[in-house]
Chain length 362, copies 2
Amino acid sequence: METIPKKNCSTDHEEVRRVNTVTIKDVAAAAGVSVGTASRVLSGNPATSAASRERVAAAVERLDFHPNAQARSLRSTRTRTIGLLVSDVRNQFFADLAHAVEQAALEHGYAILLGNANEREDQQDRYLNTLISQRVDGIILAPQGDGNGVIRSLLRRGIPTVFVDRTVDGIDLPSVTTDSVHGIRQAVAHLAGQGHTRIGYIAGPQSISTGRDRFTAYNQAIADNRLPKDPALVYFGDFQAASGSAGVRVLLNLDQPPTAILAADSPMAAGAVAMLHRMGSRIGTDIALVAFDDIEWFALLQPALSVISHSVEDMGRAAVDLLLQVIDGGTPESIVLPSELIVRASSSTPNHPGSVSGLRKN
Amino acid sequence: METIPKKNCSTDHEEVRRVNTVTIKDVAAAAGVSVGTASRVLSGNPATSAASRERVAAAVERLDFHPNAQARSLRSTRTRTIGLLVSDVRNQFFADLAHAVEQAALEHGYAILLGNANEREDQQDRYLNTLISQRVDGIILAPQGDGNGVIRSLLRRGIPTVFVDRTVDGIDLPSVTTDSVHGIRQAVAHLAGQGHTRIGYIAGPQSISTGRDRFTAYNQAIADNRLPKDPALVYFGDFQAASGSAGVRVLLNLDQPPTAILAADSPMAAGAVAMLHRMGSRIGTDIALVAFDDIEWFALLQPALSVISHSVEDMGRAAVDLLLQVIDGGTPESIVLPSELIVRASSSTPNHPGSVSGLRKN
DNA sequence: CGTTTCCATGGAATCGTTTCCACGATATGA
DNA sequence: TCATATCGTGGAAACGATTCCATGGAAACG
């Protein structure tokens, strides 16, 4: 009974479901070595002879052996897997980020478990629990919420985690973020230079660090440029497209509507564009528009959109670098990447001809 | 020695790295039951008393226990994980697809391992090997190549796999695809109705099923509309943006350039738009443009782009449905989703005023 | 030639679950 | 009242790798 392993019990008989469960034991047998030796060869342990290396390699090839990652990491407590949790891959920014992270991780032999929080904390927490159960080696997180949910569990368990794009107040973890201040200051100065005095702002949610940071930067820049501060010029959106549209509608219906609008992320900017079209307001002529986040589509619009650009590629790579350092027991410094205004046609027509110190379109 | 488990050996002593490795054994002890009982409670096995259910639940809560997915699936041979392999998440279509798949999978308790093949077969094969090692319960694959790589291994091993968006000739797996024929026929008929006789086509790679299908549909539609067949009007791209730009450049430099262009996917259409702008050709006036794939950005362009639309949401959900059926041992039929032309301004200006049977812009 | 060192090796314990099996208690039937 | 079915339970054997430990043989040294 026990001498014949159950693998052989279904020869060609009925169907071949779940056949081919080749284990390291089979490889060892085929190579004529012990499982210990086979394991050492497979994991590149130098304590192996050329002979057994060769024979094991041949057996692996012949049997099409793929080591069981579960068993491997159960014993070794490493999964070679990292979790990436973003708010929505449909947001081009996060898609680009996911791609960058995934490629960087791949280079280091890590696979990515991807999750979408859909800008909701409960979904984030649900995913984090999954990642904990999966025993990922580390987590790259664009966080939601105030850090009172499962994020605390991560800390308590000492699971290597880094924040990307966003941070959470009161949670001290390495992060890769963008310095919004410089880009937004440039944008406001640029618009002011074009003669705009009423610059509307479609803000992100104040529960998210980037939403707060960019709003603060906007207020600061308004003050620095000695522009009148008018709370009515600010619309609070949720970083999603529909709220960009809503923001435009509200702002344009003001008694004194803005002559320029700055949107705090790309989906809201897209929503804004859609609504401006629908309302018949010509971008770059009737109203100037600048978006935070640089995604390729903005350059294709007519007129092309001015943007505050930051390198999502760098952000992804840096996040992986940081995480790997944490996994190796380090405590790396957080990284702040720069942002930079790119002026295009959507904002380069002066508002009041005559009051201008001109910046040119590119 | 053996009576005190090693967890307790580092009390508050030095540092708390990798503390809190709570196992089901700890839960069982805390609840005063055996590990068997604890396991049954956790997995919802009905053979448990209300009393132990209660006590175990309390212990789980108190110890913040997260079952080790590795150990669990090592024993049970189920990982509750499915692999999704697309060619590039930065492509909005695949980002939308990934989101749909991920949400549908989540509803069924599955997590997603995401991979980017970057339109390259070697990266696809590399990822497939990872997925095999991870023992994912199933794979949703937008395949590359001719099916002679690792895809064969999937079949041999009987790993539940479905194709999405694309298929591979000679590999008989359930799939969810789009019927390109209808949409493309509509598009060509529409353009012909506008008076266009020279309709350029920026094709996808013929190594990919969607590239072939759509090209065939284009040829068929050209013939059906009794338009002159001119091989020079076809440019073969690679489904990426740069090749869309290249295609436009080539087509517009013909002795007899086309008056309308159909692009076989959205990145190439984006590239085409960029190049048309650069060459000063006004879309919707100088040249008509229609894109396969409906992504929200196309509606924001001025003029808005006519598209051949298909529901990526449906595609994602259907793929998950199919895969779950395969995992349950079924052999579901493949699904073909419809495509539909949406006419917008980019194609609704008649080419030769006077020859028209008018379709109106919406 | 004997002793030590070194190195590759085989065997066994282990990781944290699930699942099988046997058992004792209780409820049910005759 | 005794036999039988039912049910929850504890204990132990898997699952497939890694890793520790002891060992045997070859090489190196005296």
